[in-house]
Structure formats: C-alpha cells, structure tokens
Symmetry: C2
Subunit: 895 residues, 2 copies
C-alpha cells in the first residue's frame, strides 16, 4: 500500500513549455493529500503532546536517566548511550525554553539575508563578466555581438535545463504557489530541498544573464522553502515544529522575509506579502513578519557595509530629492495621470503575458516541437531580447548597455535630463550617459525603452526559469514616470509654483511615482508605495505615490486579475477568486441559490451494497453521513478512503478465507453428525436455500431499501465512472473481487494479496460471487471508521458574501447546508467559484441571477422549516413511548 | 412591547468617576441587542432585496410611473407627486450606479479632513489665546499664574460637564470601544449623533487647554461616528447601506481614516488602525482604508496649504536630517537600549494609568465625594498639572512654556543641543530656547520633562473628557530619545565613524526612534514606526526605528496588556484576550478541557413545563435544541426570547379567554342536550376527572419525563434566579399568570393586556392555576418559533488555538461541542477567556493545566465515538422495520 501510495502521490504535474500545468486532478489530489496529512497529523498529535508534556515535566528537574525508558521513541536505537541522551535532552530543553519562535525567526532572517546577499553578489559578478567580455572585444563588432548574445543564452539555457532536471516546481515566481499553500492546500513538492537548490542556482544564473527578470517572487518562494526546511530541521530537536498551524504561520512570516531581504524593505515586505498571499490576515502573526523581515533586512544591509560597498546602512536605491519643496499641489494632476495610465499599462502587461503563454500553447505544432527541444524556447527568447539590446545596435536607442539596477539608479536621478525639449548638455556622469544619444532626443530614448522593455519583460517572464516580474515592471514604471516628469520639466522649465521662489520640477520624483504605480497595478497591491519609500529612502512624495498607486489599482483591478492570479489560472492551481469591489449583488445571493441539492450521502444503517453504489457512481472525496434517509439528520462526514477500506475489509480475501474455514468446520461437523441426519440437515438446507434466494434476488439489482428510494444522481458526472456499474450484471462469470477491482483499478497489491494464505481457496467463481453478494447485504459497521464528527455547516440563507468569507477564513473546500440538523445541500469551492465569477463577469449571463434568490424566503422557508420540523416531531412521537398526558391532550381537542 | 423594549435597551452604563463602567450585564445585553438587530435585519432583508432588485429592473428602462403602485414602500404617503418619485428614483439610480463605496469613502475622507482641520484650528486659537493672556499679564506674576491656571481649568471643566450631560459615552479614547464593536458586539450608543457632537466639542476644549492629551484615539471614534451617521444618511437614498457586514467594513475603513487625517499619515493610519482594532483582517478591505485615509490626509494637508500655513504638502513634523549618513552601525546598540527602555516605560505607563483609576475607585470616601461633585476631579487634576507647568515656576525647568506640538518640533530638531555636557551657546532660535535654562543643564531639563510629563500624562488621561494618550506618550518618547541622543553626542563629540570623515551624531534621529518605540510599547503596535516616518517625512532611520519598536513591543507585551486592552478591562467591555506569543501550551489544550458539559437544552418533544423550568433555572441567551434526551442529536439553537414568547402564548390571557369561551359553548351544549343525559355526560365527567388527576400530579413537581432524568445544573448560577421556582408551590393562591410574571417581571404590558377582552373572565384563582398546569403539560409546538438551524459546532479535540481563531474570526460568543451529531458540551467566550488567561498568566495556577488534556484521546475518544455511534445505530435498528436479509445475517453467524 505504501509503495502504491507514494507512486500515486507524485504530483500530476504536466511539464509544459513555459509554466507547467496541472492535470485537472490537482485540486482533488491536493485535497486528498491534505486529508492524508491531517490524518497522519492527528495520529502524531498524541505523541506530540506527550512529548511536549515530557519537556514540561523535565523542567521540574527530574533525572533524565530514570525517564529514559519511558520515552523510547526519542531514541533511534537502544544502543545510544547515556551522554547522547543527556545532550539531546539539554538541547531540546534549551530550544523549547528560549522562545523558539524568536530563534526560528532570527535563523530564518539570517539565512535569507545571507542567501540574498550571496545571490546578489553572484549576479553582480556575472554581469560584470559580461561587461568585461563586451568591453574587451571592442575592436570587432561581430565578436562583441557574439559575446553579448552568447553569454546570456548560455546562462539562461543552463538555468532552464538545471531547473527542469532537478525540480521543475522551481520554475517561475512562486508567489502563486505560496498563495495556494497559505490558503490551506498542500503542495508538498514545492517545499523540498531539491526545489530550494534548483531555485537558488537557477535564479542566480537567470538574473546573471541580464535579462529583464526579477528576484522578488522567487525570493518569497526561497524564504518559504527555507522556513519549511528549517522547520523540518528544528523538529529533529523535538518541540512544536510539527504543528501544522504553526508552520502556516511561519510560512506567512517567511513570505515577508523574502520580500524584506530582497529589497531591504521590512515594512513594505510584510505588507506586500500579506496583500499578495493572504485573504485574511491574523494580526497576531504580524509581529513575526516584522521581526524576521527587519532582522533580515538589517543583516542584508550590514553585509553590504562589511563588504565595504556602503559606508553605513542606507536605502538600496537612495535618492536625494529636495526635502523642503518636493512637489507643488498643481503637479498632482500629472501624478494622477501617471496612476491611471499605469493602471491600464499594468492590466495590459498581465494580459500580454497570459496571451503569450496561451498563444504558444494553442499552436499545437510549435508547442510539440518546442516541447521536444525544451531548451530551445528559452534560448530563442534570450537571443531575441539580447540581440535587440546590443548596445552598438538597436540598444543604443534604449540604453541597452545598462543593467536593470543601473537603469533604475539613473531613472531615479534627481537632476533634470531635458529642458525645452532638447537634451541638456549637463554633465552626464556615469551611467546616465547611456540615455543620451547624439542623434535622438531623450524622450525618444525613453519611449523606446518603455515599449521595448514592456514586451520583452512580458515575454521573458514566460521562460521556464526561476524568475519574477516585479523588478522589470518596476523599472518600466520608473521609466514611464521619468518620461512624464521630463515632459513636465520641459513644459514648465521654471516650475509651476507661482509665489516668487522658483522650484524646478523633479523628474526623479515622477519616476518614483511611476514605479510604484505600475508595479502596484500589475500585482494589485497598495504596498508597493511603501516599498518605494524604503527602496529610495525618501518618503517626501508620499501623497503623489499613494494617489497614483490607488488610481492604478482601481483601473487595473477592474480590467484584469493580478499577475499572480493570472498565473494561478494558467497553472490551474486550486483557488478561490476574490470578491470584486462594489458589486453589491453578492449581498443578495444566498447559499440556497448556488448549492447542489443532490447530496451524496450514506445512512447509518446502510449496507455495504449502498456503500459500493455510492463509491462507484461518484467520486467526491468526502461523503455525508446522515442518520437515515427519512430524517436526513447530518451526523458527520466520512472520507472516501475510509469507505473504500471498509468495503475492502468486508470483501477482501482474508474475510473470504475465514468464511471458507468456517464453512469447512461446519461441513466437518455436519459429516461427523451424519450418523443422525434429520433436523440438523434440514436447517442447513433451509439456510442454504435462503441464502441462494437472497443472492439471486439481489443480483437483479432492484433494491427496495429506503436509501435507494431516492435515485442518487451523481453530483459530478463522469461517463467513465458512471458506466462501470453496468458492467457487473453483464459479465457475471468475471465476478470474483469485481467490486474491489472496480474501486482499486490498477492497484497491484490487491492481486498480490490473493497469492498468500494457507487455506486453499477452493471456491468457484460462482460461489465467490454469491458470497460477495451476501457480504454486500450486511449492514455497515462504522466502528473502525474515522468520521469527521463536525463538518462545517451553513444555512440556506447565508449570503454569498459571508460564505466566501467563511470559506477563505477557514480554508474549506466544501460545506454542508443544513436546516435544523437536516442535510439539504452541499456547497463546494467549485460552486462558490462559479457563483462569484458569474456575478463578477458583469452584466452578462450570471450563473444564478439575483432573481433566483427572490422568493419570500423570510416566510416560505420558515414555513418549510416548520413543516419539516413537524415531520421530525411526528416521527419522533410515533416512535416514543405513549406518554401519560396524551389522553388529556386529545381530550382537550375533543372539547 | 416597543416602549418596553426601548426602555430596556438603555445601556446599563454606570457613570463612574473617570472611565465609566458597565454593570456585569453588558456582555449579555450586547448579545441580546445583537440578536435583536440580527433578527430585525433578517426581517428587513426581504424588503432590502426586493428593493435592490427594483433598482436592477429599473435599470432596464421601464417607466417609473407604471411601477409606482408596485412599490408603495418607497413613498411615505400616496400624496407624493410624480416628479418627486422620479427625483428619488433618479437619485437612487445614480447612487446605486456610480460605485457607492467610492462615494461613501470620499465623503467620509472629506468630512473627516474638514473636522480634523477645524478641530486643529480651534485648538491652535485656544492655545494662542492662553499665550496671549499669559504674555499680556507679564507685569504681575500672580495674575499671570491665575490666567495660566484658570484658563485650562475652565476649558477642561466645561469639556467634562458638556460631555457628561450630552453623551457620557464620548469620554475617553474610543479605540477600546471600536475594537469591541469591530469584534461584533453592538454598542449602539457609541455611534449616535449626540456622541459625535459631544466628542468633537469636548475634544476641542480638552486639547485647547494645553493639557498633555492626545487627539488620535478620539479621532478614530469620531471617524467611526462619521461613517455610521453617513451610512444612516445614505441609507435614506436606499441601496445597500443597511447591510450589516458592509457597515462593519466601513467602520474598519473609518478607523483608518481617523488616524490618517489626524497625523496626515495614510499608511501608518491604516496599519495602526488594523493593529489596534482587528484580530483578523480581510485583505479585501485593505483598499478601502488606504483610499479613504489617503484622500483624507490629502485634503487635510491641502487645507493647510490653502490656509497659507504651508507652501506645499509636506509632513506634519518635517525633519531635516542628513540623508547621506543618517547613523553609524555602531550607534545601533544605543537605539536598542532606547527600544528596551521604552518597552519598560510603556508597560509602566499602562500600569500607572490603571493604578490611578483603581486607586481612586477603591477609596470609597474619595470616590463618593468626587462622584457627587463630578467636575471637581477634572478641575483638580488640571489645576495640579497647570500649576506645575507654570513657566515662571517649576515649568521653567521642564520647558513648561511649550505646547505639545512645539515641544515635539523642538525635540525633533536636527541640531545638537549639548556638547561635552555643557549647553552649547548656539543660536537657540524660536522655541528651542525653552529647553535652555541659565542655571540648569539641558540634561536635567530633559530628565525633569520626561519624569513630570510621564505621570502627568498618565493622570491626565484619566480625566473624563474625550482624549487620547498617544500624542503625550509620543512626546515623552521623543524626549527620552533626545536625552539618549544628546548623551551620545556629548560622549562622542566627533561621531563614532572611524574612517576619516566626521559624521556628528544626530540627536533628533534618536528622538524619532524614542517616540516610535515608546508609543509602540504603550499601544502594542509596530506601525508607530510607519507613523513617525510619515510624520517626519523622513525614512532614513528605518532600521533603528524598526529595531527599537520591535524590542519595545517584545518587552512591553510580556509585561502588561496594551493601553487599549487595559481600558477594555477597566471598562469591563466584552472582550477576548489575544493569545500570547511563544506560549506553545495553547497547541495542547483541547476544547474538551475547557467546555461546559452540563449543557442546557430542550428536546423536540418537550412540553411547556420543561420550557418553563429551563427558562427559570438558567439565564443563557440561547438554548440548544436536541432531538431527544437519549439521542442528544443537535438540531439547532433557540433564543431565550423566542421561548419566552412561546410560553406566553401558551399561558397568556387570550388563550385562557378562548378556553373560557369554548368551555361556555360546551356548557351550553351540555345544557341543551340535558334532555337525554347518559353517555355524553359520562364522557364529560371522565375527561374532567382525567384533567384533575393530571393537574394534581403535575403540581407535585415530580416529572418523570426523560428530559428530567438528567438533572440540569444551571451553567451560570445566580441565587436570585435559582430561588424563583420554589416560590410557585408555596403560594398556590397567587398562581394566576405566575409563570409569566416570573419570566417578565416588571413588564407593564402584560398587565395591560389583561384589561381588554370581551369575554368575562369568571375563572377562580384555583381554576386558573389548574388550567395553567394543564396548559404546561402540552407538548411544545415549535412551528412559529425562530430556530437557528446551524449553530457553530466544534469537536472535542479542536485545539484552544484553533478555537480562539474561529471565535475571533467569526465573532462567536458560544459554540456547541458535538460528537457525530450528538451534543456533548458548550464553549462560550467566558470559558475561552478563562482558559487563555489561565495559560497566559504564566507558570502559576492554570485553569486547566495541560495535563488535563493528557489522555490518549486518539484511542479512547474514537472508541467512545464508536460506542456512541453503536448506540445510535442500535436504537435506529430497533425502530426501523425488520429487513429482509436479517435472517440471512443471523444464519451466517450460526454457521
């Protein structure tokens, strides 16, 4: 079973060209996996608890030695000597005492700061090497071109290949996956050491190539990986590191650390990670993020100081804008324009990115070709991009010489590049010179830069390497802001302020605003505002930035999903869409409008045949357990796997062998009492007869049990599954273990089991089939079955809004709808998603129009409730003992 | 009933000397109120929904006229003419279409910015007036003193008196109340127009007096008031403004606006309000806060520009620190020291504040005296504080001349006041001169300022006027930071940096760090860091500030609750304490350890007497409805009020009169058929006999119904309530309507009902009592009863951690614990609070030690489950019809 389980457990991850895609089953798989983990977690919890108690008791100063025998599970083998026990215990004691959250967060921060710094350092070396090669070959343009182009192609190809081989899950940003994981879905492969290595090395190579790729998203993933691995490592020392909800809290903190140590922006990091990954945020976890991110950012910057890159701790992209008069009130419209334009731009970017993926996926021929030669696509894209940025070529018109970081530094420069429309002949020191072209205006350079980088970034982020899109978008936004700023500066050379003093316009400020607005629009976050303040070290433009970011968000959110949500859809990760803003219909849709009324259920007194039917006709992961088909009182829910094991126990070979043994014993007894035949033989024959009668009756498949009175339509139709039951009557010869085979198709160990056993299996196929039919008619014994005794329940009139809140708060994937204890429907993530998308995709066809919920539910449903209640009550009355006052009641009525 | 209801609805708010206190009932009251609102909300929801639909349909362009008759509820009277209908409809259409969230938030932001600016303006005028009086009388010190002292005393006394008379709820900060409201408890009186007026005017006067009071807390409250009133106003135009969950969302946004427009700090405002008021935060509401707070902060600062106070939009307390080298790495230990010291200081402040309140409350004599002369306490405190700050007196040693704002500006100054320990003779321009004293060192002045202001602020915030404590604490923190900074500057006159360049230490930076750290420690928030950046307009000190704030929080949170939580406890508001950090025992306590096992319940087939018993012996607000006492299957919960009305219907006068009427008819019939006496008369006598027999049997109070088999201990014992049932048998003469009277003591309309009615009530007291006994024995008809069909359920093994999460997420006040549908316990806020506090108040006695949950729940409880399930199953089998395969089953076993 274990081997099979782990085989099945391999994620059904389909490696496609760019992002990779999940076969439809992922949602189902993930839930199964989550359930499995939960179950094993529950099993572990007992030992967990006793272990913690152990620690607490140890604290009271008892001798470790005398307790050694009582806790053998700590030791791998009894051969361990006394000293090692003591050491382990002391370590555990220390770790459990000194506030393990702190230690964990500090370790995480430290680790991530180191990783971030090392990655940055390697990237810088890579980029320097490229520049050095390019510079050294300045005698021959062709050689220069070759060097310029080959270098990134090699790096990207290596990165893509390495990632594909080691861990294909490391591809892309990682934020969508983290969002899904924090939503409660377990994507185990995303948090392994392999993925960590692949992501770090792949990211370094990808960014070292100088392509327009970002580091933020991968860092969120890397930090989460770090946290998961660290957690696993710490759990070796015992303590509470195995608690699942604690791990989720730590993962949330890790996301903050990822952003924080990437930009040295602790506050922005925390906020960004919250906005990007969470739906509901527990304020009590807030401090974790702040603590870890601050520590991480601090170490990250201290490393720079120690490395003599900086004199002291300052911002990453320090600006030096005027403090006394950062901007004039009358410049605000220009900032608002940046915001709105960025909103459209951001939506366009997301759309373009998705379009590229979908286009290449749809072109079957291209797709098939590229799938065969996996590394061709990255190489081709890199070739195209780097050819276009070749500085002596087209790159001269778009500052192609500059790396991403250099471009950003120059764009945030606090001097004005242009005056009166002509590039001013100021001292273009350092990198700023790249923006100046002898023939072409600065404006043209900027426009070309924006346009080219825009599609290049959208294209580059589809390459299957670990990469994010935040930084490229940030740079494009800064360039756009700069463009507007330079235009304003050209338009008002002496500034706008009218009262005497001349305050010239600062185009750098516009660049800051643009960067925040465009990145905010693409990611649908407001906290990019905070990130730019922390990145630039100046907060003087707070109001323009906030206004632009909010406007950009308003525009972008009404046009497109965020980049991360878009990728979630492309990757088909299980998700729950957000409720849009301002769509107040959500307050009017009720659960009764969206719920599935045909609930698959099993009753407390059902027999195994019912179980079999339910399992064969549907493939829901959990089934409702109701008291009886008449009362429909919800008692709990049972997982499919539990039912399968119940059924396999009932129909399995061990049970049949036992039956054979028993029959043999009975036969022997019959033979031994053959001397006095008569009554005994007669009873035997009668029972035989009865049995046959029943089995033939049952094989006609016309059960008259109350359960089957309501024909159960499968909630999720699937032809392949629905057709199966019909196979049974058509091939009665092949009936041996057919029920089991239907359930565990392609499970080899069922066959394996049939081979062992010391009792000879002399039953004919017909006998087996009879025996199985008989077994199926027994009532189910739920004693050894794990029942979830309190599945989540909703009421018919719960609004969609509230349902969404509850689902996302508690990470549910389904909830039963009950009315006074009676099961009347079920709502799963799927229905909810449909309902939300139906009402969000505006105006047109709604899945359930608001009219559907327009019935006087206030009166009719309460009446319903009353009658249903009445039924229950009547039923109860009929079965309860006659009470002493019943005559008086009837008496009174007769009066 | 309505009159009575509104009488009862008056909040049981006990006006005490300082904060006001709630009689213990508040929690109960609030829940009742919440239930009432919810119910009325449900009733409204139908019309709400049809109204919205109306709008949607209207959109399709039908004529408004022809639909006029169909929607009469829109019109107040049929006399309204066609034009007004059109106008109203157009308005409604516009409002419902143009994205009402935006409009609402913009209006809110605008309003709050105006309020904030006007309040600031008035405060500034008040303070100027005081200065002018003080300055004009410089010939005579005594007159100067009188003026200096009288002015604040008059203002504070007026503020206290005005608030007391108009709306005592306006006293204090308002943040604790908002926290409670956002937690889901309805405190209606806190959001009325009266409170708004009282708060705004009271606050202006209180701050105008120059006492060390803050404006932040009250502004959170004022913004929420604004939002509530605006919501009410907008609901006049129809639309979705009546939706409760939407209102909560808007209140959360309003809190952000309050902080945002107070400090012109949109980001900090949003974060601070989240940290201070929420436990779980919905990221989808994030934008609301940002949008409204940004708009509000923008307008607030634009007003300053228009008023020519400022040239352009800048920070409120702009600093001008060096950008290139804000601090050296080696200064970080000093910042850490500030953080830790601030942590202790913050905890001390909270403790001191609570101590003062509790001290005065305990001193009965003082308390009684001060309660009589309510305005004496504020006047005395003001007199004391203003005497000590009198500039020619003691005030000269503590810069008493400066207002709060002036002190803060001087403390954040970027020049160094002292070098080598001696006050440097630099040009003390403007207000900075106040810190310089001819005889006394600057250090002494600062120390005196800190010490004096510390207790003064703690004392002043207990005055019953609208006031906050944030700003005073902020100033004290800045002074402490300045002290450390000046010391550092004196210690290292040439700065710490070793590499050639001299970078002198900036004491102003230390002041920023100190301010953030101390205010963070008092309020238990990290976002004060963001607030200081926004207030000063500089973010260069981000790392020191973050480090200091986090350290301060760590220290303060481990010592004391936050100031707001402390006030919540003082005011006895219903609250749920936070889970502390690092206490991993919470993961080990289970619901089964804290739940109340004696659940009060009613069964589906109970009779009215059971209802009466349950109602008399307990006072829980909701009661569980189970199927029967044997099965204990939870069907739902019923509110107490519903049961009371059921009982009153059954025992009420109308029913009795009906009975009399019926009896009279029967009597008449008997008289008319007197001609043929015999069988009819006999049956009548028999029925009479039976009735008497039952009623006497019942009056002995020995019910043998299954419900009473388990004696129900009241979950919340209260002698006055428990004693009541014994009254019934002792005074059988007074039995008329006694059951009702017991339930509705002091409800006048029950008496009023007795007076009308056309049938003569000729029943004797004995007859009435008999009739009532008879009525009580009837089975309850739940048809007209509102049942909550899906109360929240937990499982025995749910951890405390998860329970806390669910309670705070969903704002529950109780949850039933079920095991496979069977009710086995109940957990209310009270138990949860006890358990958390027990485990949080460290080490000592825990309410339920972790050991309590150390039983092998993994095995035993599942066994339990199984046996319980078995019972259910057996029961079900016995009542279900014999099935056709049962013989085969038994047959097989016999084999």
């Amino acid at each position: 079973m274990a081997g099979d389980g782990s085989d099945q457990r391999a994620l059904q991850y389909e490696q496609t060209l760019m992002y990779g895609r999940y076969t439809q089953e992922l949602g189902v798989y993930a839930k199964e996996e989550a359930a499995r983990l939960r179950e094993s977690g529950q099993r572990r919890s007992v030992s967990d608890r006793s272990r913690t108690l152990d620690l607490l008791e140890y604290d009271k100063g008892r001798c470790a030695k005398c307790r050694r025998l009582g806790y053998p599970y700590v030791l791998d083998a009894p051969a361990h000597d006394f000293i090692s026990v003591c050491t382990v215990r002391c370590q555990k004691f220390l770790i459990s005492r000194v506030g393990e959250d702190w230690i964990f967060l500090i370790l995480l921060g430290l680790l991530m700061a180191l990783v971030s710094w090392v990655v940055d350092f390697c990237i810088a070396i890579c980029l320097q090497a490229q520049k050095w090669m390019y510079g050294g070959l300045d005698s021959n343009v062709f050689l220069q071109y070759l060097a310029w182009v080959t270098y990134p192609v090699v790096l990207i190809t290596f990165s893509a290949g390495f990632t594909q081989i080691l861990a294909p899950q490391a591809v892309g940003s990682g934020i969508p996956e983290m969002k899904t994981i924090l939503r409660g879905v377990v994507l185990k492969e995303y948090l392994t050491f392999k993925t960590f290595v692949a992501k770090v090395i792949g990211l370094t190579c990808a960014l070292g190539s100088g392509m327009p790729l970002g580091k933020e998203g991968p860092f969120v993933h890397i930090a989460s990986l770090c946290a998961a691995l660290l957690s696993k490592f710490m759990s070796l020392f015992g303590g509470i590191y195995e608690n699942e909800s604690r791990n989720i809290e730590m993962l949330a903190a890790a996301c903050a650390v990822g952003v924080g140590c990437c930009f040295a922006a602790p506050i922005g990091g925390v906020l960004f990670s919250i906005e990007v990954t969470s739906t509901f945020f527990a304020v009590r976890n807030y401090w974790r993020g702040f603590f870890a991110a601050t520590f991480s950012a601090f170490i990250f910057r201290v490393l720079a100081v120690w490395n003599r890159d900086e004199e002291t701790i300052t911002a990453l992209f320090k600006t030096r804008f005027r403090l006394d008069f950062p901007f004039d009130l009358q410049e605000l419209p220009a900032f608002a324009v940046i915001g709105i334009a960025s909103g459209f731009g951001g939506a366009l970017f997301v759309y373009l990115n998705r379009l590229i993926v979908q286009f290449i996926r749809k072109q079957k021929a291209i797709n098939r070709f590229l799938m065969k030669k996996r590394l061709l696509y990255p190489a081709l894209v890199t070739l195209l991009v780097s050819t276009l940025t070749f500085p002596p070529g087209f790159g001269q018109f778009m500052a192609g010489k500059l790396t991403q970081k250099e471009s950003l530094v120059t764009l945030l420069d606090n001097r004005t590049w242009a005056k009166q429309g002509i590039a001013e002949e100021f001292d273009y020191i350092g990198h700023s010179q790249a923006w100046k072209h002898p023939q072409v205006n600065v404006f043209v350079t900027l426009v070309l830069f924006i346009v080219m980088k825009f599609w290049m970034s959208a294209l580059a982020t589809t390459i299957p390497v670990p990469c994010g899109a935040f930084m490229p978008v940030f740079v494009i936004g800064a360039a756009f802001g700069r463009l507007v700023g330079e235009s304003m500066a050209a338009w008002f050379p002496d500034g706008i302020h009218t009262d005497g003093t001349i305050y010239p316009i600062v185009p750098g400020g516009y660049a800051v605003v643009g960067a925040a607005a465009l990145s905010g629009a693409v990611t649908h976050t407001v906290s990019t505002a905070v990130i730019v303040f922390e990145l630039t070290g100046q907060i003087s433009h707070i109001l323009p930035v906030m206004i632009a970011v909010i406007l950009a968000n308003a525009v972008a959110q009404s046009l497109q999903p965020s980049l991360y949500d878009s990728i979630i859809r492309i990757k088909k990760l299980p998700y729950l869409p957000e409720l849009g803003w301002g769509h107040h219909e959500k307050y009017n849709i009720r659960v009764e409008d969206i719920m599935v009324r045909d609930v698959r259920y099993i009753t407390l007194n059902c027999c195994y045949r019912d179980l079999q039917n339910v399992l064969l006709t549907g493939h829901l992961k959990t089934l409702a357990l109701v008291e009886s088909a008449e009362s429909m009182i919800l008692l709990g829910s049972i997982e499919r796997a539990q039912l399968q094991s119940l059924l396999s126990q009932q129909l399995g070979r061990p049970k049949r062998l036992e039956y054979i043994r028993e029959r043999a014993v009975a036969e022997k007894k019959r033979l031994s009492v053959m001397s006095n035949p008569g009554s005994d033989d007669g009873s035997q024959r009668v029972s035989q007869e009865v049995r046959f009668q029943i089995s033939t009756e049952e094989s006609t498949f016309s059960p008259v049990r109350p359960v089957a009175l309501k024909p159960l339509k499968p909630a999720l139709k699937r032809s392949s599954v629905v057709e199966r039951p019909t196979e049974i009557p058509t091939s009665p010869q092949d009936n041996s273990g057919i029920a089991l085979k239907n359930l565990f198709c392609a499970s080899p160990e069922t066959e394996g089991l049939e081979d062992d056993g010391d009792v000879e299996d002399d039953m004919t196929i017909r006998e087996i089939s009879e025996w199985e039919e008989m077994q199926l008619d027994e009532q189910v014994n739920f004693n050894n079955c794990k029942i979830d005794p309190a599945p989540f329940q909703l009421v018919e009139r719960t609004s969609l809004h509230k349902t969404h809140t509850i689902f996302s708060l508690l990470g549910l994937d389904h909830a039963y709808v009950t009315s006074i204890g009676r099961l009347i429907g079920v709502v799963s993530l799927k229905e909810l998603r449909k309902a939300i998308e139906g009402s969000v995709t505006v105006k047109g066809v709604k899945v359930r129009p608001p009219l559907a919920s327009f019935r006087d539910s206030g009166t009719s449903s309460s009446e319903n409730e009353a009658t249903e209640l009445h039924k229950l009550w009547d039923r109860h009355k009929s079965m309860s003992l006659p009470r002493e006052h019943t005559p008086s009641e009837s008496d009174e009525k007769s009066q």
